[in-house]
């Protein structure tokens, strides 16, 4: 029998008359890596925020590790973690102090060794005594990722896990996450705009547009379904409300002087990559 670490059922979040997400349904199998994809305002961050308990939905049900997150989130918070370049750590505290505080919040054993190992693996040992605020964006991303891995979470939620990293370090972090998952059997849910990252890491993709799930499936299946060659083309098709091959298009007018990406595979964006 399949077991799911994350189950989202008919999830809706409204701010007054504005709907951030509407009737969202998806599940994430234990040990899988799934991506939430969508343009700005598609509802990715809202969904992640509800999953980690920072936001209460208007209606619907969210279950993580078998617990109802709206009623019993404290039963599972010690088995979850979250990484986002958009939520900071205190700037004045050193990297080590920050990780120490969070280690105590998760009531971890062997904290010093844990911090030492993570800093070594993510390549920031020499930064441990530096104030977090003095780090570069890429260095901060690695430290925030270390914070998210401190408690070796069973479910790891990530918003743009490789934002601000150079290609070499981004590649290292992706390999690290894959190894982490292989070692611990953790479930990973990420929101990302890096399509190559999604194709490499994820077994399944949930495509969102304006708060509504418009499609779901493995990256290669979505690429085939939309008659495209890359996931980025699929993303653009969905964002621009283009139909699949054979369906009528609903394309917004192109910017003046710019060619429209065609429907036969050779899109501008793909040529650029």
């Amino acid at each position: 029998m399949e077991s799911f670490d994350i189950e989202v059922q008919r999830l809706t979040k409204r701010y007054g008359d504005v709907a951030a997400i509407v009737d969202l349904d998806f599940s994430v199998r234990r040990g899988a890596t799934v991506a939430l994809l969508g343009g700005n305002g598609a509802g990715k961050t809202t969904t992640l925020s509800i999953l980690i308990g920072l936001l209460v939905p208007t209606s619907g049900r969210v279950t993580v590790l078998g617990e109802d997150m709206l009623r019993h989130r404290y039963r599972v918070l010690h088995r979850l973690n979250y990484s986002s370049p958009y939520v900071d750590l205190p700037h004045r505290l050193t990297v080590k102090d920050n990780l120490t505080v969070f280690g105590h919040l998760y009531q971890l054993d062997g904290l010093r060794a844990r911090i030492g190992r993570l800093s070594e693996e993510l390549g920031f040992t020499r930064l441990l005594k530096r104030p977090f605020g003095s780090l570069s964006a890429g260095q901060k991303t690695r430290v925030v990722l270390a914070k998210a891995l401190l408690n070796e979470p069973d479910v790891l939620l990530m918003d743009e896990p490789t934002a601000s990293l150079d290609p070499d370090m981004a590649d290292y972090v992706r390999a690290y996450l894959q190894a982490y998952q292989a070692r611990t059997g953790a479930t990973l849910l990420l929101a990302s705009h890096y399509m190559q990252e999604v194709e490499r890491l994820c077994q399944d993709v949930v495509m969102l547009r304006e708060g509504v799930k418009v499609d779901q499936g493995p990256p290669h299946a979505l690429i085939a379904k939309y008659g495209r060659q890359t996931l980025e083309d699929v993303f653009i098709d969905i964002a621009r409300k283009r139909r699949r091959p054979g369906e009528a298009e609903d394309v917004p007018p192109p910017p003046p002087g710019k060619p429209v990406a065609g429907n036969g595979g050779g899109t501008r964006s793909r040529e650029a990559t």
């Binding site: 920072l54 209460v56 918070l77 505290l93 009531q107 844990r114 408690n151």
Partner: protein
Amino acid sequence: MNGSEGVAGAARWRAHAPHSALSWQRAGAMVLRYVFLLRSSWTRIIEIIYWPTMQMVLWGLISRYVLTASTVLHQAAGLFLAAVLLWEVLFRSQMGVHTMFQEEMYARNLGHLLISPLRPIEMVSALLAVSLLRTLISAGSAALLAIPLYRFSVFTLGLPLVAFFANLMMFGWAFGLVLCALLLRFGFGAEGLAWAGIFALTPISGVYYPISTLPGWLQPAAWAFPPAYVFEGMRAVLLKGEFRADLFLAALSLNGAYLAIGVGLFLFTFGVARRRGLLLQVGE
């Protein structure tokens, strides 16, 4: 990366008591976080000591001048100094709560904290503990400095000083938590209120004069807040040498109610913030 550890290796780091409703270790982690902050910033440490010292120096000099003309003050030379030092206890205790909370907002760290197992009530405990620490440092250093400068020791108040201190701390905590709730709900738009709020109570707290000095219609408002009882009690000790247990108990009862309101409002606002998505929006 060590792939040989296997899934069982994960449990090695895990929590020992993850489901406990209140964890002193988690609350202690937050106290540690604030101690790290103070340790990293000498300007913050100086700020803790600077203002109460300045207040004490100013009012010490005023007292010296007034002493030459006032019989009442001859009888209780330290009245103003005791008042200013006790007022600092109230001011610092409320400030100790809301400035530490503001630090989290400035740092945009609330999101990380609240997805950890830290519970809001543990955050409240940490804020109150740090407030006590800051107040002891700030008011304590000013009180000690007054001894060589003016030959006045607030510690001569004896045990009543503990009663005054405890009551003012409690009211400061309650007031600080209400300010935190306002900051959480209205963001940095409420920052000005947080800094100035306590001063609105100064005129009716009877810090430097008896409550009977106030117009009759204003006196019930003064008695609705614990500081009025504390400062009347202070004057009773200094001028008449008696400890008014009735004033102490009245202040304590009111403080119980205000503290319950403060904690309740803080926790309620967290719920509102989770519904409105405010926890991810706070920042500079």
